[in-house]
């Protein structure tokens, strides 16, 4: 059966038609070999547009399809489905990208049209040589791995567990809870953070469908969508989780300490027990303590053993070791969250050098009712500050550090103002560049603060110094700032300064991303599949993202994304099977001489050498279709399906002919 190609040229409204002469392109396409039919339409991706193609296939007018429209990354799937519905193998279809890489980026109509022609001819020539490929399906393991037990991971795990699916939740800290567990109040509603988080943590701990692995880290991930092999390192707690009942006798009696005994209030900031055997905070899940071997007296000099003595259940075991656990899952949700920016490099702000310059997270802990100050705001010497400055955008919106906006700082800064006003009688200054109060109820919260006698100074703080010039500045921190609304440089003496440190990608994120084969953007966060239409998926099938590993997010957005991620996983699991790459590599055994050049090229170890036959063989379940082996094969024995040499040669000829 000879090839009869249908070419469909999309106007995309004026997106394409505004720069590309559609009539000329249509005429051109009609003249190409093997093209039997050319149609144009306003929106090929619309229902009527799709029907056009489907009907032509069904009517037997065409047996191959070229759609000249947007990027294949946008609609390849759509049109492949059209082919399938029409009864045509979807691999007999090609998209010519005359929008993203043509009409949108060029100005001159004539040259843009010429380029569109070249792209179409390339697609037509390649399509003639394309071959039908069979779809392959693999079963999906219904179990899901969630990496990270902050609010994102907790929400995602609970959603899946509630739907009756098994979840493994891996958290590197001794307890789940993440950053949210350190907060006192949440903006803008001022809910008690612990009150809304703790029940969820408890549900995770008790849920029959959730296997919680705290104090554990993912070491390795292999396999592919539906069938990932995961290795997790369970770090040793020195406490037998099966025996411990979390009574607390050990940390109450422990003579060691993780927090400096001496030192000022700020150096001793902490929540939860400060002993060497500890749980990170009192609502910890699991409520099983961990021994911090760096500060434990027993591990330092062997001279202690009190925790073991007081433990009635004999749960303490100083000889425990890390355990490696391997298991299989079908999908992965990355929810590793963020870390806060370390302001030490910004020397002008004096963090680390000046007492009473605090980071936001330290101020959170100070405000936390279960923290070491009992929720009281205190200066390093223990006294109550009379004036506090809050410096916005520390490390964010700053080309030297992070160019992006951290999205949460404005709101937590406002929350701090409110908390300070509520707790003590102090003057409060907010030093901001812009106030970004975009969420539900956020602007209203800002409005409320305007009535709480908070002083807003619009300007980026230049310096925080302890060196006085005027008498009033003696013994104070002086914030030097250009008040851009007044147009003057001001020096404002204050007792305490809180730096609103931005959110940045967690230092472990790059490793996790590497294990999952997903990409990291230049901001350090994971790149989602599509910034608008695929915010929870990634470029690797079966790997999803939730929360601040994608970009800075507040709690409502994080929870929404976590639920979205779990729903994406559910829709995949429910199908029970998933199609995997059909465009794999395959070896022509009649040509392969077994030179063993390809074997080391495959990152997925999909190419094995068959000793008996003396040839290399591709395991197509493992192959992801990158084609590196085909390019490396010296004898042309490996072909990369759908990207065969002859197809690409035809594309090259076509792209250069018009």
């Amino acid at each position: 059966m000879s090839e009869r190609i249908g070419v469909y040229v999309c106007h995309c409204g004026t997106n394409i038609a505004g720069r590309v002469d559609i009539d000329e392109v249509v005429e051109f396409a009609k003249g190409l070999d093997a093209v039997t039919l050319v149609r144009e339409y306003k929106f090929m991706c619309s229902d009527p547009g799709q029907s056009l193609i489907q009907k032509d296939i069904e009517d037997g007018l065409i047996n191959r399809v070229v759609v000249a429209s947007c990027s294949p990354l946008m609609h390849e799937k759509t049109f492949r489905n059209v082919c399938t519905r029409g009864g045509l193998n979807e691999y007999l279809f090609t998209m010519a990208n005359i929008r993203e890489q043509c009409s949108w980026v060029h100005v001159d109509v004539e040259r843009t049209t010429d380029k569109a022609k070249g792209l179409i001819e390339a697609a037509v020539r390649r399509t003639r040589l394309q071959e039908p490929l069979t779809k392959r399906e693999v079963p999906i393991n219904p179990r899901t791995l969630v990496i990270g037990g902050g609010i994102a991971g907790i929400q995602a795990a609970l959603d899946l567990a509630e739907a009756g699916k098994k979840v493994v939740l891996v958290e590197k800290e001794p307890s789940i809870g993440g950053h949210m567990a350190k907060f006192d109040k949440t903006f803008p509603t001022l809910d008690c953070s612990a009150c809304i988080l703790t029940p969820k943590m408890v549900s995770v701990g008790q849920h029959e469908n959730i296997e919680l692995m705290s104090w554990s880290e993912v070491e390795d991930i292999g396999g592919y969508v539906g069938n990932f092999n995961v290795t997790v390192r369970k770090k040793t707690r020195y406490v037998d989780a099966d025996l411990c009942n979390g009574c607390g006798a050990c940390w109450e009696k422990c003579p060691g300490t993780r927090v400096p005994r001496k030192g000022n209030v700020h150096e001793k900031l902490s929540i939860g027990p400060t002993t060497s055997i500890y749980i990170p905070f009192m609502q910890a899940v699991p409520a099983i303590p961990v021994i911090d071997a760096d500060t434990c007296i027993r591990f330092k000099n062997g001279k202690c053993g009190i925790c073991a003595e007081v433990c009635e259940r004999n749960a303490i075991n100083y000889d425990m070791e890390d355990e490696l656990i391997e298991f299989e899952v079908g999908s992965i949700i990355i929810a590793t969250g963020f870390q806060t920016f370390d302001p030490t490099p910004i020397k002008r702000y004096g963090y680390g050098k000046l007492d009473n310059v605090l980071t936001a997270i330290e101020f959170e802990i100070m405000n936390c009712a279960s923290g070491s100050t009992g929720g009281n705001i205190r200066m390093a010497d223990g006294s109550e500050p009379k004036s506090i400055g809050i410096v916005h955008c520390v490390g964010s919106r700053d080309k030297h550090y992070h160019e992006y906006c951290s999205r949460v700082c404005c709101m937590y800064a406002l929350k701090y103002s409110h908390l300070i006003k509520e707790k003590i009688d102090a003057e409060v200054y907010e030093f901001y560049i812009d106030l970004r109060c975009f969420g539900k109820g956020y602007e209203e919260f800002y409005d409320r603060l305007l009535g709480e006698d908070v002083r807003f100074v619009r300007g980026k703080v230049a310096e925080i110094t302890e060196v006085p010039i005027e008498e009033a500045e003696k013994g104070k921190l002086v914030v030097e700032v250009e008040d851009t609304l007044v147009g003057k440089v001001r020096r404002i003496p204050l007792d305490m300064v809180v730096l609103c440190t931005g959110l940045e990608a967690h230092e472990s994120l790059a490793d996790i991303a590497g294990l999952c084969s997903v990409s990291i953007g230049k901001d350090g966060f994971i790149i989602e599949k599509h910034p608008k239409l695929g915010p929870v998926a990634t470029t690797t099938d079966g790997v999803f993202i939730a929360g601040a590993c994608q970009s800075p997010k507040d709690i409502p957005d994080t929870v929404a994304q976590a639920s979205a991620a779990s729903s994406a996983v559910l829709s995949m699991i429910t199908r029970e099977k998933i199609e995997i790459e059909s465009a794999t590599a395959s070896v022509d055994e009649d040509k392969c001489s077994g030179c063993k050049i390809c074997n080391s090229l495959c990152p997925y170890l999909a190419i094995k050498y068959d000793e008996e036959k003396g040839v290399s063989v591709v395991n197509e379940a493992l192959c992801k279709g990158c084609g590196t082996c085909a390019a490396g094969c010296p004898s042309n024995a490996i072909s990369a399906k759908h990207f065969e040499d002859r197809q690409i040669f035809a594309e090259i000829e076509g792209i250069l002919s018009a």
Binding site: S593, K596, I597, P634, S635
Partner: protein, 317 residues
Amino acid sequence: MKLKGGIYWGAGCGGCDVAVLDIHEKILDVAEKMDFLFWPIAMDFKNDDVRAMEDGEFDLVLYSGAVRNSENEEIAKLLRRKSKTMVALGTCAHIGGLPSLANYHTKQSILERVYSETESTVNPEGTMPLERSTVDGNELELPRFYNTVKTLDQVVDVDYYIPGCPPVPQQIVNALTAVFNGELPPKGSVIGAGTKTLCDECPREREEKEISEIKRPLNMIPDPEKCLLEQGLICLGPVTREGCGARCINSGAPCRGCYGPLEGVHDQGIRMISALASVIEPKEEKEIDAVLDGIVDPLRTFHRFSTAASILRRKKI
């Protein structure tokens, strides 16, 4: 009726003709089946005698050597017309061979080099070859020296190819036998050689490759058991058709690629670049370059025999 055959040499060294003789006593079997009417290296038979033959009168013509000058081309076209089956014999006719290395130069630069520049040339008058000259009142004529060396199939339609520099005698026998028995594969095929690359018949042990240093045979004594490429020697075996019996490999020398590429490989030398670079170990640009520095004259190493058949065919002028 006995078959009629012819053998011709274009731009070649004569090695292919010798290879035909190297079939030894089997030449008698051949002579029994076929009369050779035309074989300039071995017998006297004029071009005009060929011109006088009927079109298609030869059952088989073996053409060795590349097409280097107008005479090569003229005879190639003549023989094509007079022959039912035309076979490109040997590397030069097949893919250009060593003569096609001239394609990295121009006709002019080659003539200058040969007639005036080489260290051993004594040519004070600066005599250069002329296509036409008069000696004692007689006009003499030389064929035109071409700018570009061509493979046989770049000039005439070729039915089959017997690769090799020179082809292995037994492979010639195999090819002739196929012709005699009418057991020929589809037109355009390579006959008298395998379908896989040399690695298939190479007796050396192979592992997965990671090359961190390129060496030259003069600098090392290779392990006789192990793959030469893995030892850092540039061996074109992986991109070269099998059939020679791994002659060079067995004498400890890496393959230089005379049997040409496999079916579907568009450019033997460039393919070697792809394969070799794939298995070089370093990832950093500087370190990669340090490894590549070990390849002396990469272009002529990879395209030693196949320049005329390479995609770009010659140096741009």
